[in-house]
């Protein structure tokens, strides 16, 4: 009986210790733990937002309004939409209650000072809605297996998948270009006819990506490092992404 009581006290004290995290700083930022799965075709911004909302709801955060950090480009007289204009004002906190950025200026480094210092997006802080670190560069390699092959990667949860769709420039705005940086505004799962170099090119399906682990592309940008080989699910994997994206709570 006494032992039971002690265990009870222990349990209560644990609960008391962990509670402040979730009460003071509820989650308002995460990386999707899974992709939609159809390459760059997310069903437009609406489809991506719904994916954020769905994943948030599954972990008890459905009462907030979630938006995907994605830009769309000017097409057919429809104005461009900037990812940074979609996500509220901040501050934003991850699963652990850690602040990843104070505000939009801090998140994007709007001034030289802010940009040089950087925000708090690191491999340890860019967590999924379940609190998982996203497997990054050199975390897990199996001899004789190709971690650029979707058929392998989809059954290997620890293989590198650090690329995150954004379709955005480093300052969080849309690309003002005829070239594709958004898989045709998140509706395309197409590939180029033959694989050239990665990145944007004329008539080439492409999407701009950032890194959850801030490691790769020669710059480690969280939101705008480089382009891809195409927009199919298989093509995203060919540079170490699986089509995940960032979600922010607006309110």
């Amino acid at each position: 009986m006494k032992l039971l009581f002690q265990i009870f006290i222990l349990f209560i004290s644990f609960a008391a210790n962990t509670a402040p995290f979730s009460i003071d700083y509820p989650m308002s930022f995460f990386v999707t733990s899974k992709p939609i799965g159809d390459g760059g075709n997310l069903g437009g911004l609406a489809g991506a937002d719904a994916h954020c909302q769905l994943l948030a709801t599954e972990v008890g955060y459905g009462h907030k309004t979630w938006a995907a950090y994605l830009s769309t480009q000017y097409r057919y007289a429809m104005p461009a939409i900037n990812a940074r204009d979609r996500i509220g004002e901040g501050p934003w906190f991850n699963f652990n209650g850690e602040m990843i950025a104070r505000n939009l200026a801090h998140l994007h480094g709007d001034t030289l000072e802010l940009a040089r210092l950087g925000n708090n997006m690191t491999k340890q802080s860019v967590l999924t809605e379940k609190g998982q670190i996203v497997p990054g560069l050199n975390d897990f390699q199996e001899n004789g297996h190709n971690d650029l092959d979707w058929d392998y990667v989809k059954n290997t949860p620890n293989s590198n998948r650090h690329e995150v769709l954004t379709g955005s420039q480093p300052d969080g705005t849309a690309y003002m270009s005829e070239l594709d940086y958004t898989c045709n505004n998140w509706t395309s799962n197409k590939d180029p006819e033959d694989y050239g170099p990665m990145g944007a090119a004329e008539n080439k399906p492409n999407v701009q990506i950032g890194f959850t682990d801030r490691n790769g592309g020669g710059n480690g940008s969280w939101n705008s490092s480089h382009g891809t080989r195409g927009c199919s699910q298989h093509s995203l994997v060919r540079t170490h992404g699986i089509g995940m994206f960032y979600c922010f709570a607006i309110n």
């Binding site: 040089r116 708090n120 690191t122 650029l148 480690g220 490092s225």
Partner: protein
């Protein structure tokens, strides 16, 4: 006699087979240290807190550690600034290190796209000279900022002791910190009073991702550094290649 001959033949056959299969293994993709090496983090501190013997002492430490791994023929300097003091103008870390680009000690021969994965540091990128460069960032990462043996410096999430806080005495742009208050342990001569500005090799901690100006220590003793997740390590750059 023939039996012995047969045995020797079998022995040599086996020997060559072993050697052959070893040679045919996937080639080691890393040369340590790379002949391109022009950047590293010191594997060990000088050990006397912020007293490095001035810039000269720090440079000599870089040179000695580089020589230990066969890179002593290059001219090495510590990435450290000093502040303006009576009779001493400030010295900016970024002005001491040459023009680059700088490669780390681990030469990864080719990556999956047949490119050299260990891309170098570019001077304007590591200091964010333009807004776009500052926002996009550089190739400085935990896996780039290796010591002269090519080993990762223990950072957040790694086994203790954490050693990611690296002395710089420098502002994010690579210049000396232009204030009266100490940020250089009295121009790297104090192991007690004063403060040192430091960066993080793993670009993690203090709510920012700065490699060269993430925070300020509360003191200059070895223990002060350790309480900030550091050991008194610093960055070394080769001036000419």
């Amino acid at each position: 006699m023939t039996q012995i001959r047969h045995l020797t033949f079998i022995f040599f056959a086996l020997f060559y087979l072993c050697a052959y299969s070893q040679n045919n293994q996937i080639p080691d993709s890393e040369n340590l240290p790379s002949s391109l090496m022009t950047f590293f983090v010191t594997s060990e501190p000088i050990g006397n807190g912020g007293d490095l013997g001035g810039l000269d002492g720090a440079d000599a430490h870089c040179q000695r550690l580089a020589a230990n791994v066969g890179q002593g023929h290059k001219t090495w300097v510590a990435y450290l600034s000093t502040q303006t003091r009576p009779g001493q103008p400030a010295i900016n870390a970024r002005d001491r290190i040459g023009d680059g680009p700088w490669y780390h000690p681990k030469e990864r021969i080719l990556d999956y796209l047949d490119r050299r994965l260990s891309r170098p540091l570019i001077k304007s990128q590591i200091h964010g000279d333009t807004l776009l460069e500052a926002q996009t960032g550089s190739n400085m990462s935990k896996e780039f900022a290796l010591n002269e043996f090519g080993q990762i410096i223990n950072g957040i999430g790694d086994p203790l002791p954490t050693m990611h806080a690296v002395l710089t005495g420098t502002h994010t742009d690579g210049n000396a910190i232009n204030i009266n208050e100490d940020r250089t342990c009295n121009n790297w001569t104090s192991n007690s009073e004063g403060h040192a500005q430091y960066g993080h090799t793993d670009r993690t901690g203090n709510g920012n991702t700065s490699w060269n100006s993430a925070g300020t220590t509360t003191g200059c003793s070895q223990a002060d550094f350790e309480s900030h997740g550091g050991a008194g390590l610093f960055y070394c750059f080769a001036i000419e290649h």
